[in-house]
Symmetry: C2
Subunit: 119 residues, 2 copies
Amino acid sequence: MALNDVELCDEHAVHIKLVNKINHEMPEDDDLYDLAELFKVFGDSTRIKILFALFESEMCVCDIAETLGMTQSAISHQLKILKQSKLVSNRREGKSIIYFLADDHVRTIIDQGMNHIKE
Amino acid sequence: MALNDVELCDEHAVHIKLVNKINHEMPEDDDLYDLAELFKVFGDSTRIKILFALFESEMCVCDIAETLGMTQSAISHQLKILKQSKLVSNRREGKSIIYFLADDHVRTIIDQGMNHIKE
DNA sequence: TAAACATATGAACAGATATTCATATGTATA
DNA sequence: TATACATATGAATATCTGTTCATATGTTTA
């Protein structure tokens, strides 16, 4: 749909200033997209579980898989997504790769989410 | 995959206590699911844009559609999802239905997300 | 260095999801 | 009360996403 083709309420003349103001305050499309992508990462219960596990302790992939009762492959795929979003980091220790939380935003965001659903 | 069928690292004997501890601290499945569902709602740029619009002012459906340059139907579908998650509420005013933010968790959660992507 | 171990990865499939289109519902107005 | 207006909704479709399976990569150890 073209931009000059959008639907308008009858009261459009009254609201046009509001629409313009809001579009002026709206963040850049890139930021909005990145933000949605970030929340998308939190929007899967497997990844949420992995993050909760890492709240308690850093862990190797195998132990995360065991904790969640899922295959190593499934966990590894999800860890890749969490790492790409910079929510977790990892380091090698011998044969194992240890994953841990990248920073404390993760906790804050999840805590706020918990507050919301607990009401 | 059955629970007694999970893969175990060779070092399993060392880590079994950690796994048990983490499973003990892990929130209930229902809560984990609800939490993921909540973040899923934030994980779409159309819905993120609607929320940013409502940060500035309550609005009727038609004006939201115009602001975002999208159809009334698409916006209405998304508003339904936002309302089901209790992120927005609405009231009727004559022919229009006015949507507004339900509470302040929304701002906090989105602000934290912004902090993360802005680093 | 060959074998075992730990993890990563690509392809494929099944299930979920956002938008569109047509239309229904509810409200105001001529 | 017929018509226009504002919004909601169901079905259909195209796209996206999580898991599985098979296998590749990289490390340790016998």
